[in-house]
């Protein structure tokens, strides 16, 4: 796939750097996410993937760099300059590595809360809502209709009135994605959506994401460790290692990239198609160092996300 073939850039990340004290979690990373495409960010643990997400969605303020979101109107929104909730309003929705549903509320309520902003507008500071005006009732029905649409899509319509916390793990993952989609985003950011899913469930997830991409005409940015998901559905893969971008290309290109193989499997040449599960013994030292980095990163993360 080449540029200039009608790809619509949605998000442009330029020279993004994020430092936590002396630790450089993300170092000079640039990439672009396009509409109608699934862009995957992969990399070993502690490579800085979630930090990139947190910068994009306003949970961290980047130390340096430029994050520009192209809105439907053609305007550019500089994400590093606005508050997190405004980023979501501008059309970037996200899910979390550790699922963050509103556990004490029902499945349907989770999806209706996601439509807070249009509903709030319709309720005119709650006045129209308090008085029960038709204008608000119509907006609420539309919100329920949208929620029902996504519930049917993720196969949870039967359990709409269950507490979100009562759902099995895989359904909670799907619900979180549906909740993000209910905000009508232009770019959907998924942080390890296949984590903890069994092969059948991650297959269903692949289908869901492909359908969303094609039917909603939105861009999807995804962090994932599950290579069957990444290689199966991504149009475009970005590889991070120690906070640096080491590769950027189609899944086929990434699979053949010697840098990527080195990052995942160590210095020795190993068959490139092997799934990156085995750690070469020579790499043991580097691996433990990497875990230190992960621990450090999660300590910083602990506060916010």
């Amino acid at each position: 796939m080449s540029d200039g073939s009608g790809r619509v850039p949605l998000l442009e990340v330029e020279r993004l750097t994020m430092r936590f004290g002396g630790l450089v979690a993300v170092d000079d990373v640039s990439f672009t996410a396009y509409r109608d495409e699934i862009t995957a960010i992969i990399g070993p643990n502690g490579a800085g993937k979630t930090t990139v997400f947190n910068c994009l969605t306003g949970f961290y303020r980047p130390s340096a760099g430029r994050l520009a979101m192209r809105k439907a109107s053609g305007q550019l929104l500089r994400l590093e300059r606005v508050e997190g909730f405004r980023i979501a309003r501008a059309g970037i929705a996200r899910t979390f590595q550790n699922i963050r549903l509103f556990a004490g509320m029902t499945v349907l309520e989770n999806l209706v809360v996601a439509q807070h902003n249009p509903l709030m507008k319709a309720s005119v500071f709650s006045l129209a809502g308090l008085l029960g005006l038709a204008r608000y009732r119509k907006a609420e029905l539309a919100a329920i209709e949208r929620a029902r649409h996504w519930l049917e899509r993720i196969g949870l319509a039967e359990r709409a009135d269950w507490l979100a916390s009562a759902l099995p793990y895989g359904a909670q993952r799907r619900l979180e994605i549906a909740r993000a989609l209910c905000t009508a985003p232009a770019l959907l950011c998924l942080d390890e959506p296949a984590a903890g899913l069994n092969p059948r469930e991650s297959g269903e997830l692949n289908d869901l994401l492909l359908r969303v991409r094609d039917e909603e005409r939105i861009g999807i940015l995804l962090i994932e460790h599950d290579m069957t998901v990444v290689m199966g559905i991504s149009d475009h893969v970005i590889v991070l290692d120690y906070g640096r971008k080491i590769a950027d290309g189609t899944p086929a290109e990434i699979r053949a990239d010697p840098e990527v193989i080195k990052a995942y499997l160590g210095e020795e040449e190993v068959d490139g198609t092997t799934e990156p599960i085995i750690v070469a013994p020579a790499q043991a030292g580097a691996q433990s160092q990497r875990q230190d980095l992960t621990a450090l990163g999660s300590r910083f993360r602990g506060n916010d996300v």
């Binding site: 909730f85 405004r86 979390f96 004490g104 509320m105 309520e109 807070h116 996300v305």
Partner: protein, 439 residues
Amino acid sequence: MAAASGLAVDKLPKPPVFWAPLVKDAALAALVAVLLSLPLVGLQTYDIGGGALGIRTHFDWVGVAGAVVFAGRLGLRLLHHLWGGRDRRAGPSLARLAAWGNRQTLPIALVGIGFAVALPLLPFSSRYLIDLGTTVLIYVMLGWGLNIVVGLAGLLDLGYVAFYAVGAYTSALLARDLGFTFWEALPFSGAVAASFGIALGFPVLRLRGDYLAIVTLGFGEIIRIVLLNWASVTGGPNGISEIPRPSFFGLPFARSAPEGVATFHQFLGIEFSPEHRVVFLYFVILAMALVTNAFTLRIRRLPVGRAWEALREDEVACRALGINPTTVKLSAFAIGAMFGGLAGCFFAARQGFISPESFTFIESATILAIVVLGGMGSQLGVVLAAILLVSLPEFGRAFAEFRMLIFGAAMVGVMVWRPRGLIAHREPTIRLDPYLAAR
């Protein structure tokens, strides 16, 4: 499934009694009892003349205490053992009662409202009972107001009494200095208290849980101390007196009125009775509380109410969905404070006199206890808990010094049997079924 396991339990032979752990457990409890009662019961000081104190010992009583605890604990464990297999957390009947209550919210609420409306007309009602009912209703209203902040938005507020005080003093000052009547002062009390709610909300936006609780506790104390020390305006510890009583659409409740003004009893052509005012006050607070409840039930189903609950569940997720946590929190603080202020205005008019002593921390603690005991977020629970917490000490008067002991034991009991509050049931704000059916 449940039935099957029940059958299995019935068919199993009774497990043998293992005496050793039972006796050990009872001995441990007795030891704790002896250690505790040694200084409390075992030693008694008395006057030996000349201002000096001597010590008497009652080690026999300590022994009795230990023996009673040993026997009691052993008996309790034995009973438990024999009745094994049943629900241990709640007495089964209590759990069933609570489950029934959760299903029948609407009928219970209607019966409750009917009873509250009819109370002054019932044959056994008395001035004392109506006064008590008025006090209960003030706490119900305060509990419903705080429920918005604590139960729905999940913001632990230990200084809620500050808004109650602000409302009371606003109406008292307006009445004293500008001659406002109760009805004229009422909206101002609510508005001023709401602005204080926002004023408190701003500095605590980033705080949660324990930290928030401490700041709000401090805020409550600041308000009380300002009221105490700003004597030129608030009258300091002397408070403000002669606050006008509410009138019935301009008709005062008095034996005689100044020239040209008809009193309530003259207007209706009935005999004057001081009870008229008491009953009227009761109905005023009943109406105010019901309005609070209706408002809360309604706003819970609006986007802002759902955002409150979402914020309680997960603030990070709220931000990721484009919900502005600042406005959501501030609206919860403001609306909760507004109801506190309205209740304060009523309190000032009912008492006719207010002083900072009415707005101590123990009031905040009582209101919070009502919300927590009732079951966070449950409107009906607040009513039950308010009745329990306000009237139990009243009925306990017969037991004189054991009053607070009974009160404490009742609270411990509730927390043991119903750890999530009397009514721990949350009704969804929206359901898919009726909408699907309508399609």
